[in-house]
Symmetry: C2
């Protein structure tokens, strides 16, 4: 299958490259073959797609979430993390079975595709269900069985074995669209030796580690009380940072901790919407950028966000650090766009495949409508995308060169069926 896209404004997101006006892109099977001026010859393509009035750019990369939690969207708003988690989420999640995971994940993947996300990380339970949804939907994903270690030694072992089994079985799955990680849930939910066992397995399997870290001030204090160190030093000592690692949140960090993360090349998933909503705080993103880190963006689970709108996260990342630091240059629009695309690919260790548009890379891209009144006058497209566009401006989504969304319609998933089953799966467990 060979497609020619013409008359697009192309944002490759390569460093130092300005948007290309009236440009063309050739996609052959799952790869980008060419980006530049329109070729004179339009024969020999299976399809020529007119992109007049649209911008083409890499799809959003959502680097932290728990897709199935969409079933609990709006179920318990306006509680602090500890109460929300221990009194609201965990009791409901205990009732989750494969049906809940399947339809909650399908609902989320549908929402993500419609909003322009082409790759997402998911850390949850019953991950085979998520893998099947990803296979069917055509999206790209990094999947990991998240393990909470506050349980018996026997349960711990079973979870670890399941995490290993899943990671081994699904790595490279769905025609290579799925990769896997090893995911001890967090320092405050996993005893140190349990984290150490995950590190050991991750090294054996040659997989990255993903974990929550320093989301709330209380959690940081608890870590100091229990283990004598703040979470960064704690994880460093456990060897988590000696191989590829991605931490989610990283809200409460000292300057020294930022240095440690930078030295070890640790990837960060900034989750502004969730951190705001749960009252966790504001991550020191300008300081991370200054230290050379390239933070990516994640929505977190849709029960604490409450949507999966990456464009909203990009906008929040561009806005909140300006306001909090009273510095309008804190996170420029171009940086925010990179956080949602190329830095996201780096965070998932997929930068060789995705995150920028260039010949040889996977054809994971989106087309955004530029004709809405909120996008006029049309003279700074990066600014308009970050500060003014909305998710519904995303009209087309391609992953591996395959169209998943065309003119706002999802081609791979049945929207009505998913809505029906998601509601049913929620009704089955509500108290």
């Amino acid at each position: 299958m060979k497609r020619l896209f013409v008359h697009a404004t192309i944002l490759t997101m390569k460093e130092g490259q300005a948007p290309l006006p009236d440009a063309a892109m050739i996609v052959e099977d799952d790869r980008i073959r060419y980006i530049g001026p329109a070729p004179s010859e339009t024969d020999g393509y299976d399809e020529v797609v007119d992109m007049t009035g649209k911008a083409i750019l890499p799809g959003w990369v959502n680097t932290h979430g728990h897709a199935a939690m969409s079933l609990l969207r709006g179920y318990a708003d306006d509680y602090p993390l500890k109460t929300w988690l221990e009194e609201k989420m965990w009791p409901m999640e205990a009732r989750f079975g494969p049906e809940q995971i399947r339809w909650g994940s399908a609902l989320s993947v549908l929402e993500m595709i419609k909003g322009g996300t082409t790759c997402f990380l998911d850390m949850y339970d019953h991950m085979d269900q998520v893998g099947q949804v990803v296979e069917e939907a055509g999206i790209r994903a990094v999947l990991c069985r998240g393990a909470i270690g506050l349980c018996s030694e026997e349960e711990q072992r079973a979870k670890l074995e399941e995490a290993v089994r899943f990671a081994r079985e699904w790595n490279g799955g769905a025609d290579g669209r799925i990769t896997t990680m090893m995911a001890p849930h967090a320092p405050y939910t996993c005893p140190p030796d349990y984290i150490a066992r995950f590190v050991e397995k991750a090294r054996e399997l040659n997989l990255p580690i993903h974990t929550h870290m320093s989301e709330t001030e209380a959690e940081v204090q608890l870590n100091v009380e229990q283990y004598g160190h703040r979470p960064v030093e704690h994880l460093r000592r456990l060897g988590v940072f000696d191989g590829p690692a991605l931490v989610a949140h990283a809200v409460h960090l000292t300057g020294e901790e930022i240095e440690i993360l930078a030295e070890h090349g640790v990837k960060v998933s900034h989750n502004p919407g969730s951190n705001l909503k749960l009252g966790s705080g504001i991550a020191p993103i300008p300081e991370m950028l200054a230290a050379g880190l390239r933070p990516s963006l994640g929505t977190d689970g849709p029960a604490s966000n409450n949507n999966l709108d990456m464009l909203e996260e990009i906008r929040l990342a561009a806005l909140i650090h300006k306001g909090v630091n009273q510095d309008p240059e804190a996170v420029p629009s171009t940086t925010a766009l990179r956080m949602g695309t190329s830095y996201g690919a780096e965070a998932l260790f997929l930068e060789d495949q995705i995150g920028t548009l260039e010949p040889g890379k996977k054809a994971d891209f989106i087309a955004v409508d530029l004709t809405g009144p909120h996008m006029q006058p049309l003279h700074d497209i990066e600014s308009h995308l970050v500060y003014s566009a909305s998710r519904d401006d995303v009209r087309d989504v391609y992953v591996d060169g395959r169209p998943l969304l065309r003119n706002g319609e999802c081609l791979t998933l049945d929207e009505e069926k998913i809505r029906y089953h998601a509601q049913k799966a929620f009704d089955a467990i509500r108290p």
Copy 2:
């Protein structure tokens, strides 16, 4: 004209009233006549509208902005307020003529209608153009000629006279959809005696006063240096608060200042998007709410936002104060919705007419689609509206009982024509 709307979830936004499932509303001419269970008889209506899968609620009320500045959207991002204003905006605005005001305002009104705003405040220049756009568009508006007093006595006098002429001529215009205010731009751009003359004229005309106040820390310090008081005390002494008054921004306030505003019943327009983007800071909204103030929401001009999406302001108001105060209960979703609707009506002194849905009030309302994947499972509609919906979920907009938007299509304005002329008006003045 008599319309019956059936099978809607109705959010009246009246205090203490939960959303009404499967409810009906009767609208006769410009007024709401009935809200409740569907009447058994559906004869005798000019139209029966099926609202299955939609929520009906009051339209958004945008209490501060400069519509024509949409022409400068994205023109100068990521600068601090003073530089942005003095070096970027003012030189460009000096080139604005009636054409720029007309098409900039039309572009903004189109965007506002499509996003569900049914009433907006506009403070700008060449206001007759804005009045004509409002007349044609069918939207409701509060208009005021904003006057900067950093000029000769003669120019000051001319501006004041124009402000008076405009306020007098247009108050009650467009079949009563337009009301007016008197608007000295800000304490830092108007000498005290100039503000005093606006106060005098406002009292004569029996009109409210609207002004910018305490947007940046620098501006507050300047006020102390120049006049010996912070802006709140300064304006209080000038008599601004002795009659109806609405201040925009109110970012940098002490507890004592909040008390003064509350005592005088001063209305506040909170502009979170603009305050974040310009790095101005975060207004103390939880403290204002605790003091009994009922802050409303405004987008500010689209050159510092950069859109006119009131749902985004509602979401920002619900999110940022939770994050900054590390308090997930800071601004609950219901409060944020009221800030965008009923508190907005109060801020514009129109609460007898609009802001809640009840028999006798003006039929200014919107219908929001509830069927998107991001709105499932459907069990807390207020939460979903605030934390998960997007502007494109707004499908229908009515003002004075007249449909302005139906199924996302604007019925009163020509979108393509406006886009063309707005671009042309911008191109005519760009350097």
